[in-house]
């Protein structure tokens, strides 16, 4: 291992070492200072975030081309570590309130984030699989951390079984790709295809299997069945984190594999991607309409948003706009992350013990009793719909631009019409908050309130002053190919 190798995975090293130390340390942390683990975990993430932002390994490949440290991965590292910090802020008193404050929560979260980072850096199919497992296994445990709550246990089991299944697809896909090209490295695959030594039908099947596996992770329809149950059963702060982190990691792998290594398969895959995207947007939004539980509603909404990002990915084979494909996806992931954490923070503020406070009726009268909280939720809902001036609108704007540039006009039309569909259920939350009478209860939690308020302000301000963000994603997308 050379120094450059070391620098390239510095954030991962920090997180894994920190998490391992924390796991041990937690044993000695007494009841009196039980919040210490969380604070230390957040500190570790903050350090990793700074290191990611400094991006020591900039532009280098490490470990014989297995790891990539570029603008793309640096951007996602910041997204992952930042999400982790917000996730801890949301979880901190939630776990205590729900009586599930187990010390291992935070180290496991750190492990999972290290897996996500690895996913963003993976330039080799083996590493993709490794990263997939590293990010998933801690999440399986975390989903069940509210044991003996049956919903949480069910979530963990379901997530584990289907996740393992998805992992199997990826492994098989990797094996077939290896059989087709004689290598698992993305650069090697490109070379094999270029020199016409690759067995194309086999590679096609391999890529298809990888797509299915990753489709599970990012919850594309029809691979989404686990999502509502897992999102519903898992502790809410974790759900918020999963919706952002696991989805972004999945898309990171999809983008890198298909754009960097497999653009040659575009002719075979465009239609499949097109259908997956349309189906995901449509089914996600349609089923969300009939939900009465806000966690399930947001779960379906998260499915639908994966469909929107997928819309841009359809154009993965078009070299002229591939930079826009990556940049718009990255931007949307950020827009979704900010909006999503904000919305979930409001859900957490209202959630009571044993799943109380999660029905849409529990939002009756929120606007009158807690105007700031409701106004923030309004901003998040508008951002989800894509009404300006919110970051969700800017994200959709760029996505639709990419889709139209790629020439998929009808997909864009389906996209805008399904966001109309989504307006219906997002507005229902607003109707309940402002136009109906009720007496909702909230739990005063400074950290959660901070996330809510900062989130709402960010959703608006980042849309008005979006230029630096757009430059950043454009830069991050530059050296993927």
């Amino acid at each position: 291992m050379t120094t450059i190798d070391f620098y390239a995975i510095l954030p991962i090293i920090i997180l894994v070492a920190w998490a391992s130390a924390l796991l041990l340390l937690d044993l000695f942390i007494t009841r009196k200072v039980e919040g210490l683990t969380a604070i230390l975990a957040a500190l570790g993430l903050a350090i990793a975030l700074v290191v990611s932002a400094l991006n020591f390994g900039a532009g280098s490949t490490a470990f014989n081309g297995m790891i990539e440290a570029d603008g793309f991965s640096s951007y996602l590292q910041i997204l992952f570590t930042g999400s982790g910090i917000v996730g801890i802020a949301l979880a901190y008193s939630y776990l205590k309130r729900m009586g599930i404050n187990r010390g291992e929560f935070y180290p496991l979260l750190l492990y999972s984030i290290s897996g996500m980072i690895l996913m963003a850096q993976a330039a080799d199919l083996i590493v993709v699989f490794l990263a997939l497992e590293l990010l998933s296994i801690p999440l399986y445990i975390l989903a069940g951390i509210a044991r003996p709550n049956p919903a949480s246990e069910e979530a963990a089991l379901k997530y584990f079984l289907l996740g393992a299944f998805a992992g199997g697809f990826v492994v098989y896909g990797v094996a077939l790709s290896f059989g087709a090209t004689g290598t698992t490295s993305l650069a090697g695959i490109v070379a094999a295809v270029d020199s016409a030594s690759a067995d194309m039908p086999l590679l096609l099947v391999g890529a298809g299997l990888i797509l299915i596996g990753l489709g599970f992770k990012v919850a594309l329809v029809p691979f989404h069945m686990w999502t509502p149950d897992v999102y519903h059963g898992a502790p809410t702060p974790l759900t918020a984190f999963m919706a952002v982190g696991a989805k972004a990691a999945g898309f990171a792998a999809l983008l890198r594999i298909f754009l960097a290594a497999l653009p040659v398969l575009a002719g075979n895959f465009v239609l499949i991607f097109w259908i997956l995207s349309a189906l995901t947007m449509f089914a996600g939004n349609l089923i969300a309409i009939v939900q009465s539980n806000i966690k399930r509603m947001l779960a379906y909404s998260s499915i639908a948003h994966a469909g929107y990002i997928m819309m841009a990915v359809v154009a993965f084979g078009q070299e002229l706009i591939s930079r826009d494909v990556v940049a718009s996806s990255l931007f949307y992931l950020l827009a979704y992350a900010v909006t999503n954490f904000g919305a979930w923070s409001v859900v957490i503020a209202l959630e009571g013990a044993e799943g109380k406070g999660l029905q849409l009726e529990d939002y009756y009268g929120l606007g009158k009793k807690y105007p700031v909280l409701a106004a923030a939720m309004l901003v998040f809902m508008l951002s989800f719909i894509g009404v300006p001036p919110t970051i969700g609108f800017m994200g959709k704007f760029y996505l639709f631009r990419t889709v139209l540039e790629a020439g998929y006009t009808w997909l864009a039309v389906i996209g805008v019409l399904t966001s109309l569909l989504s307006a219906y259920y997002y507005l229902r939350v607003v109707v309940n908050m402002y136009m109906r009478q009720g007496d909702p209860e909230i739990y005063q939690d400074r950290l959660v309130q901070l996330v809510t308020v900062v989130g709402a302000v960010a959703v608006v301000l980042l849309s008005i002053f979006a230029t630096p963000l757009f430059r950043w994603v454009s830069q991050a997308a530059l050296n993927l190919f």
């Binding site: 631009r401 019409l417 136009m435 757009f470």
Partner: protein
């Protein structure tokens, strides 16, 4: 000119000052909140008058332009561009004029959550002014969509019994059109490389076939907003459920955003398509005129009647715009203003009687003239203006429209104008019928015998509108002078396109 010293920007953003001040008040300080909102909206009106003094009516181009670079998305540079010309100056004035009047009408009508109400109302004013002043498609879209949110709340929180249904319907209908327009805007960005409306107009060069699609996508957004038959079904719900002030603004200004959209974007950006579809648009407009009038006649609820009459009146505006000649377009623009004033006044008057009796059924009234003579006289003036009696403002708008439509080459047949003229007669029928049901006949209902005539505050809200009704009716020339050069410039574009086509 910089961001904060540009007069247009000041007008647009000034209501935000009111929002910030109102945020500092407590919910219970109703009086202070109302006065703050009113004073802020009056200052905004003052600022718009200042804009008018700076405005040069002889100049057909955009004036007082502010153009700053705003957002960069990949290779796109989106500008923060605003400007005013003869097409928009009257609508800006209409907006700033109707807002304080609407606010004053809420003095006793809105008692619940006054703070939120005033905040939403001022935000709405920002959105509306932005729509009329934005000269960049992206900026325009931002303002356009932004107006949805406060109006949605005004209907949904302070509206009638069916308010939630009406609010959601309003939101979804409008958004359906807007998202299609968004795709067309993106197309222009991708293939023309800019969102700036003046640049796009100067550039031209969009193939005729594509123009048609883009025209239709923009028209989807605007036709729903106008609303043109058959896309009008959200309007009666929204109008009837909305609180009085909301109806006034909805009819007075929000609907004009649709007609203005056609004028500002569809005609200059896609002139070939506009020429192609002009007969179709005129046909829909005429159907709207007759349909709206016929349905109005059968209403039992006064507010419903006024709401459907809007469908009819806006049909005239659309007919005038798509006549694509100076009389028609100028009449159309003036008719936008007229409709804002007359229908706004009608909604105010309906609101006043509703506040007293809590019913709008025409059968519950009759003989009101005897107990409320002032109210009756004012209603008579407004009713006559709405049906286009010569000497009042409605005539000054409708006459040039019919004249324009009659001789229009683009529409190609005088029959449209002929049928539309029938609409004028029908308007007289349903409006006089309404007046008769309310004010004439015996005063036979016990509850009506004790009704009080208008208060000073109510008079203050309605008198300015009546003055304008007479002013525009008797001496419309200054209004036409303001818009004439800009209209001429717009039509020269259309003419150039028609020459290129044949």
């Amino acid at each position: 000119m910089t961001f904060f010293s540009n007069p247009l920007n000041l007008v647009t953003l000034f209501p935000l000052v009111g929002v910030l001040v109102i945020l500092l008040f407590k919910q219970e300080q109703k009086k202070e909140i109302r006065w703050t909102a009113l004073i802020v909206s009056l200052i905004t009106f003052g600022l718009s008058i200042w804009v008018l003094t700076l405005f040069d009516p002889n100049n057909p181009d955009l004036q007082l332009v502010i153009n700053l670079s705003w957002i960069e998305i990949a290779d796109w540079e989106i500008s923060y561009q605003m400007g005013v010309d003869g097409l928009s100056i009257l609508l800006v004035l209409l907006t700033t004029f109707l807002t304080p009047i609407s606010l004053l009408s809420t003095w006793t009508a809105v008692e619940d959550r006054v703070k939120d109400f005033m905040i939403f109302f001022l935000l709405l004013e920002v959105g509306m002014l932005g729509v009329f002043l934005a000269q960049d498609l992206f900026l325009f879209y931002v303002f356009w969509e932004f107006t949805l949110v406060p109006m949605y709340f005004l209907i949904g929180i302070w509206g009638g019994p069916q308010r939630m249904y009406a609010a959601v319907k309003f939101f979804l209908y409008t958004m359906t059109g807007s998202v299609l327009m968004l795709l067309a805007i993106l197309w222009l960005g991708i293939y023309q490389g800019t969102f700036s409306v003046p640049d796009l107009t100067a550039m031209g060069g969009i193939p005729a076939q594509v123009q048609l699609w883009l025209f239709l996508a923009f028209a989807a957004a605007f036709a729903i907003k106008v609303p043109m038959w058959p896309l009008h079904s959200w309007l009666p719900d929204a109008h009837v459920q909305a609180p009085t002030a909301g109806s006034v603004i909805l009819a007075g200004v929000l609907l004009k955003m649709g007609t203005y959209g056609f004028l500002r974007f569809n005609l200059p950006l896609f002139p070939k398509a506009a020429l192609q579809v002009a007969p179709w648009m005129a046909g829909l407009a005429v159907i709207g005129i007759l349909y709206g009038a016929a349905v109005s006649y059968y209403q039992k609820d006064v507010k419903m009647l006024v709401a459907y009459s809007s469908v009819s009146h806006l049909g005239f505006v659309m007919l005038g715009l798509f006549a694509l000649n100076p009389q028609g377009v100028q009449g159309g623009i003036l008719q936008m203003v007229n409709h804002g004033i007359s229908t706004g006044a009608l909604f105010l008057l309906v609101g006043m009687i509703y506040e007293r009796r809590h019913t709008r059924e025409m059968d519950d009234f009759g003989g009101l003239w005897k107990v409320m003579p002032v109210y009756g006289a004012l209603t008579l003036v407004v009713t006559l203006s709405s049906m286009g009696l010569p000497g009042l403002n409605g005539f000054a708008g409708e006459f040039p429209i019919l004249l324009g439509a009659f001789g229009s080459e683009a529409i190609g047949s005088p029959w449209y104008a002929g049928l539309a003229a029938l609409g004028v007669i029908l308007a007289a029928v349903y409006l006089l019928y309404m007046f008769q049901k309310l004010f004439l006949g015996p005063l036979d209902k016990e509850e009506n015998k004790l009704l009080k005539d208008l208060t000073v505050r109510e008079l203050i809200t309605i008198i300015p509108l009546v003055i304008l009704i007479f002013w525009i009716g008797l001496y419309p020339k200054p209004f036409f002078t303001l818009m004439a050069p800009a209209v001429e410039k717009l039509l020269s574009l259309v003419e150039a396109a028609s020459l290129a086509m044949y």
